[in-house]
Symmetry: C2
Subunit: 225 residues, 2 copies
């Protein structure tokens, strides 16, 4: 690849990093915990988010979501049924969200303040890893149907995330999913990474995920003196 392009790309990333840093400061100042969900297309980000928003809204937490997709507002319409404010970001062919899009949509959105704001990234295991969106935590999803070696094949996105959620766990047996192999792959890329397991059809995994969010919310909303 020609040097000029690499330099320009570097410039774009630096600008993104600066915008992301400013966003994170703003979120922290406003007491909003921000969580960026990344994964392949079809891993179940939207379903996890739907269940999460329902629980948070039901518990009186002010939760919202920004949802990225190349086209369609299917996800935003689906998520709005949770009762939480949701806004769709269409990237029109761009394969990831950038900090500038987050800032622009927040400014144009008559919603909030939020205790917790989720960002559902475009389904892509590569490019979103390079774009900080100002989030406090990045969560990578991996479904049992995808193959246990995905973390080794897409190391950057697993390495840049704080937590891994293994989804569709109810299909683990049908897919002959090897949990130990998946854990080994994740920990080879990011030693000691926290791993949660969820399923659309059973609650225990979701309880652990909600507990993880609650713990983070406590830290943001009740800061140490």
């Amino acid at each position: 690849m020609p040097t000029r392009i690499v330099e320009l790309r570097q410039g774009v990333l630096n600008k993104n990093d600066q915008l992301a840093r400013a966003l994170r400061e703003r979120f922290t100042r406003e007491g909003t915990l921000v969580i960026n969900l990344v994964s392949s297309p079809g891993t179940g980000k939207t379903l996890l988010l739907e269940q999460t928003l329902r629980r948070l809204v039901g518990a009186g937490t002010r939760a919202g979501a920004l949802v990225g997709d190349l086209e369609t507002d299917n996800d935003a319409r689906r998520l709005a049924a949770s009762g939480a404010p949701v806004r769709q970001i269409n990237t029109h062919g761009r394969c990831h969200l950038e900090a500038e899009m987050i800032g622009q949509h927040l400014d144009a959105w008559q919603a909030g303040p939020f205790d917790v704001l989720f960002i559902e990234n475009v389904g892509n295991l590569v490019c979103p890893s390079s774009y900080d969106l100002g989030e406090h935590h990045r969560v990578v999803l991996l479904s049992v149907t995808e193959g246990e070696d995905k973390p080794l094949k897409y190391p950057t996105i697993f390495n840049s995330a704080d937590v891994a959620v293994i989804t569709k766990y109810d299909l683990a047996a049908a897919c002959e999913f090897d949990d130990a192999a998946a854990m080994a792959s994740i920990h080879a890329v990011r030693p000691g990474m926290r791993i949660l397991r969820t399923s659309a059809r059973s609650a225990p995994g979701l309880d652990a995920w909600m507990a993880w969010i609650d713990e983070r919310l406590g830290r943001v909303i009740v800061p140490a003196p």
Copy 2:
């Protein structure tokens, strides 16, 4: 996005298109049918390719594969068990294959001639759609676990493909997969597109897929006078 970057990207694409055109002419001249497989990570490209190579090699067809991944040579090692020559292309962070990579790896590879050469692209539903690799046919895979509306959300890759293969069909019932909805999504993006259905655990779908390849092979190897 600044104008300069758009222009540069356009320039990169034009260069790629020129290289791809030259590759396609070369493949046609040498009597090699080239098929580019694209999909999300974990849709089952490697498994389909493994089964396909075994069958082709078993039938005496000279088949080979170039396999793209960000990191690891897991797929090439797995595919080599089929008996076909296989070469791994590591993109080291790039989210798609480009025509230049195909040309360089072909030149450095002591293999062939092939009746059919498969290219397994990096798992990504966005960027590979913009990069012609000199293939004769582009095949997009969609697994029943991914959601029926993926073609609407990632229209370019479905629109730029010639055939859609719905994989993991043995999990369709467990996933409550809605075949009619998936077909409607695919045909909304690309009316009349040929759709095949495969499963790792049953042969009928694979038979239809092999018949499709045989038909294409016939056309390339025995060109009309």
